[in-house]
């Protein structure tokens, strides 16, 4: 894990309210694994003082991307950065997805901005020659921000929108069974709202291994403060360094 002053290489508005920030840091780009995150100081502000965690979305040579949904003060600050600005970043942090095991076909399940780390994972799975399918849900067609990127990386994308503006209409979890049937995966990797993760975990319980990436408010982001714990079969565990990716079977929802 490093602490760097990363330079903003570019800040692109993907759709309204979602930005892709490209940050230069060869250390982080080199070491980051899918599912790991970076902990970002959003300005020298003393009003809101905590860093904000964001998944590593993609890596290039010497730089990496964050995919940021604007929801509050910190993300608003990030969305306004310009090329050349510097950002105080710690990372890569945490236990990412475990994808080196013995499996053939995986299904990646992304709810909304939860897609961020799964694009990185999908790229790695393709490099490993695995067959990968994607179940992708959002409120609207606009919300499926990575659809184009994914089309070149995974075999198939099963899209669901709440308003029916693209793909199936409804909640992603309503179609999980159908997608599962269709692709018959032997691994599940999921990231999104906790309610979605819980349902996915319950649907797969006892069938195929399922890994979920959790979110918690974080203070230190490096395992020291114990503020980010989730309930697991082994007691409280820290999402920042014992996760953010957990085997779904460990979690007590």
């Amino acid at each position: 894990m490093h602490r760097v002053k990363a330079r903003v290489e570019s800040n692109a508005k993907v759709v309204h309210g979602v930005h892709r920030l490209r940050l230069s840091s060869s250390e982080i780009a080199l070491e980051a694994e899918p599912g790991q995150f970076v902990h970002v100081l959003c300005g020298e502000n003393r009003d809101y003082i905590l860093r904000r965690p964001f998944s590593v979305h993609r890596v290039q040579n010497g730089s990496f991307d964050l995919l940021i949904q604007v929801v509050g003060k910190g993300t608003t600050y990030l969305s306004q950065l310009e090329s050349g600005d510097a950002l105080d970043i710690m990372g890569p942090i945490g236990r990412g997805f475990e994808f080196t095991g013995n499996f053939e076909k995986s299904l990646l399940v992304a709810g909304g901005i939860g897609v961020a780390p799964l694009v990185f994972l999908a790229e790695r799975l393709r490099e490993d020659g695995k067959e990968t399918h994607f179940l992708y849900g959002a409120a609207t067609r606009e919300g499926l921000v990575c659809l184009e990127d994914l089309s070149t990386v995974v075999q198939k994308v099963f899209s669901v929108t709440e308003d029916g503006s693209f793909g199936y209409e409804g909640l992603l979890t309503e179609f999980f069974g159908e997608a599962f049937q269709e692709y018959n995966p032997d691994r599940i990797f999921a990231c999104g709202p906790e309610e979605m993760l819980r349902k996915v975990a319950e649907s797969t319980a006892g069938t195929v291994p399922c890994q979920v990436s959790l979110e918690r408010k974080m203070a230190c982001g490096i395992g020291a403060c114990l503020s980010c714990v989730c309930r697991t079969r082994e007691g409280y565990r820290r999402v920042c360094v014992d996760g953010p990716v957990f085997d779904a079977s460990e979690i007590i929802w």
């Binding site: 490093h2 003393r46 009003d47 860093r51 918690r216 203070a219 020291a224 714990v229």
Partner: protein
Amino acid sequence: MIDLSVDLAGIRMKNPVMVASGTFACGREYSEITDLSKLGAVVTKAVTLKRREGNSPPRICETPSGILNSIGLQNKGVDCFLREDLPFLRGFDIPVIVNVAGDDIEEYVAVSRRLSEAKVDGVELNVSCPNVKRGGMIFGTDAVAVAEVVSAVKKAIGVPLIVKLSPNVTDITEMARSAVDAGADVLSLINTVVGMTIDTDGFKPGLATVTGGLSGPAIRPIAVRMVWQVAQAVEVPIIGMGGIVEARDAVEFLLAGATAIAVGTANFMNPSAALEIIEGLEGFLRGKGYRSIGEIVGRVQA
């Protein structure tokens, strides 16, 4: 050369900057990105007799210029601490002060005695954790209870005894005098201020425990005030803390009468905060023409 060293009732520190209990764990995590050996001292997260689970999540939320936490006393127990963490901390050649919590006097005494036997550099009694329902709080807000736990621990240990006071009291000087009369060698203040937030969408408290402890810059004026009040009231050295982010903030506490200071919440923003404050203090003293840190302690013209 500016002399930053301080002597806290026998705890010799090469500078007055420590890290505050609970914000730095046992240093292991931070050691990857910051040089622990440069710190004045490390104060560990609270240690109890047995392993504790801590409070239910959510355990943290943000407030204006502060955070609210309710970690509770999650820790692996004193035996595990002595086995796994103390040897690690000993590797940095800086004083190791261990924060101690308990449900009753017996637990405080038992843990402190074990630590004293292991020759830690100091024991800091956390008589003021607002996040523990059983016991904890009562000690910190009742002068008689503070005196009881302090004198019991004092008898049981042979290392300097630091007592950390709760700010959630009407008269902090009463608590301070009570702790000192009962044998405290050093006072630490302040612990967190009890606070609460409510999520206006879900109508739920921000913390599972409903109330928690407020820390960070928001409480700094309260902390400076209490350090100043206590410095007038007692003779023992004071470790000042509460919202220290940069060297100027640390200077405020020193001027108010603190001999040393601790950096807590600021570690989360800036893991090198303590190291930068050490440098900043040196620069401050040099700029003003002082030669040692002691020259500014308590020098506020009030």
